[in-house]
């Protein structure tokens, strides 16, 4: 039916003796929200870093829209249409919201080696930044310095930084991390509105959010995908229950 946008084929990453990603194989379909769950230390963050290009892979391949991107540096992957967000908010705290977003837009439109043009009169950056601000609901704080915003709002901007790159594939590392239930709900709604334009790979610990949002889920254990499928399939997969969820259904409570 829908086409495969990202294909991970036998990917490996070793840290010394530790195999963090162990011949991992994964397919993500265009247009879906694909959640990546697994116990701590299963290698989710490592896999995400390999997909975004921050960590080189030892062997295996990553295909994006049919092209082999395994060896591409980060900035070329962003140009190809992949952007990521971080679990720990990674912004420019001294800059304003608009300046933060404009940086993302500038990366996409190029010209960063344009040494001599001044930026004061460039409306393309501004338009792109404003557009993104509107999508993530930060229009009321455009000129606020980011460091003064609440944690929840910084999480929104964290997402916005990736969206402003206009990627076709978004890699989100625990967008709900450290948010309270209300903020978490708002973030979930926001992710829902993004599915029209982006394919999303979502790493998340908040099981409620995962089961609510994800079209398909892959379970990662010890650097390998042990199961992929819809929320119902995953819930009932004995392999997954043993390795991760536990046998008590009530567990995905809390947040």
């Amino acid at each position: 039916m829908s086409q495969i946008i990202l294909e991970v084929d036998n990917l490996v990453k070793r840290f010394g003796g530790l195999v963090a990603t162990d011949h991992c194989t994964l397919e993500v379909k265009a247009g879906e929200i694909h959640a990546l769950i697994g116990p701590n230390g299963a290698g989710k963050t490592t896999l995400l870093a390999q997909l975004s290009g921050e960590l080189p892979s030892d062997s295996g391949r990553i295909l994006f829209e049919g092209k082999d991107i395994t060896a591409l540096p980060i900035h070329k992957r962003v140009a190809a249409g992949i952007a990521r967000s971080y679990q720990i908010t990674t912004l420019f705290p001294k800059l304003t919201v608009l300046e933060n977003l404009a940086l993302s837009v500038q990366a996409r439109t190029g010209h960063s080696f344009d040494f001599l043009g001044t930026v004061t009169d460039e409306t393309d950056l501004l338009d792109g930044a404003l557009q993104t601000a509107e999508r993530i609901g930060l229009t009321d704080v455009l000129n606020h310095v980011v460091g003064t915003l609440s944690h929840g709002r910084q999480r929104q901007l964290e997402l916005g930084m990736a969206i402003a790159c206009k990627p076709r594939l978004l890699l989100l590392d625990e967008p709900m991390a450290g948010t309270d239930p209300e903020e978490s709900q708002r973030m979930g709604d926001l992710l829902n509105t993004l599915r029209e334009d982006h394919t999303i790979v979502l790493v998340e610990h908040d099981m409620d959010a995962v089961f609510r949002l994800a079209d398909r889920i892959s379970v990662l254990v010890s650097g390998r995908v042990i199961s992929s499928g819809t929320a119902d399939q995953i819930r009932n997969d004995p392999l997954v229950i043993g390795a991760y969820l536990g046998d008590e259904e009530s567990d995905h409570s809390g947040a």
């Binding site: 116990p39 230390g41 450290g178 309270d180 239930p181 610990h205 969820l245 409570s253 947040a255």
Partner: protein, 236 residues
């Protein structure tokens, strides 16, 4: 007997911005207390104030009956207050065993102190990895190590800040079970967490905080009887 730790009308904040607007609560000997509230309401700031990492603007903090406002962090710790911090903060360049023994002491002069053997028997995983460096552990193992490290100082009061944040459900349950056992051994505990359902299985008394103030306090029975409180202070 009087309270182990008590806060009375504590106000503090960071630079010019105030976070706590009069926090009061107490932990009694032998009990497991909890501090509940949404993000940004001042839970971690309260802990920082207790551990002497923030200057207190007004109010009073007492530990073992002694006023500890303005005391340096290490003296408060030496009196027998131990922390399992948010983010675990394992020393990456010490081995697992060194992380445990480097700070071991009997600060509460316990007749039946926590020893390396007891910690290892509670967390066999740590024994297997005794010679690994702290940064070679998984998140769950680091959490166990952080708990063991704090217990080995034999504190009067063990404080756990978001001890199950970012831990997979299975390990989370294991940690709650261990906390239950620690409490049964007579150790006083103060827990900060947002996983309410699991938390109330272990703890006896609860304080909700909102906007830097304590808003409600009561025991577990009172809390389970009033679900509207959950809605109001936790948004669940």
């Amino acid at each position: 007997m009087s309270a182990l730790l008590s806060l009375e009308n504590v106000t503090t904040g960071y630079g010019p911005s105030q976070v706590l607007y009069g926090m009061s609560f107490e932990v009694r000997p032998g009990e497991a207390a909890s501090l509940l509230g949404r993000n940004g309401m001042g839970k971690t700031t309260t802990l920082r104030a207790v551990f002497g990492q923030l200057p207190i603007w007004s109010g009073e903090i007492r530990f073992l009956g002694e006023r500890i406002n303005g005391m340096p962090t290490e003296r408060i710790a030496q009196m027998g207050l131990a922390l399992v911090p948010e983010g675990r903060q394992i020393f990456p360049n010490l081995s697992v065993e060194e992380n445990l023994v480097a700070f071991s002491a009997n600060r509460s002069a316990s007749a039946e102190p926590w020893t390396l053997e007891r910690i290892y028997s509670m967390f066999p995983r740590l024994k297997e990895r005794a010679s690994n460096m702290g940064n070679q552990l998984s998140g769950g193992e680091q959490q166990m190590l952080a708990i063991g490290r704090a217990l080995l100082t034999n504190p009067h009061l063990l404080v756990l800040d978001e001890a199950t944040e970012g831990i997979s459900p299975l390990i989370r349950r294991e940690i709650w079970n261990v906390l239950g056992r620690i409490k049964e051994s007579g150790q006083s505990i103060l827990v900060i967490d947002k996983y309410l359902k699991e938390l109330i299985r272990v703890t006896d008394r609860h304080t909700f905080i909102e906007k830097g103030r304590n808003m409600w306090a009561g025991d577990t029975a009172m809390l389970t009887d009033s679900p509207e409180l959950w809605e109001r202070y936790m948004g669940v």
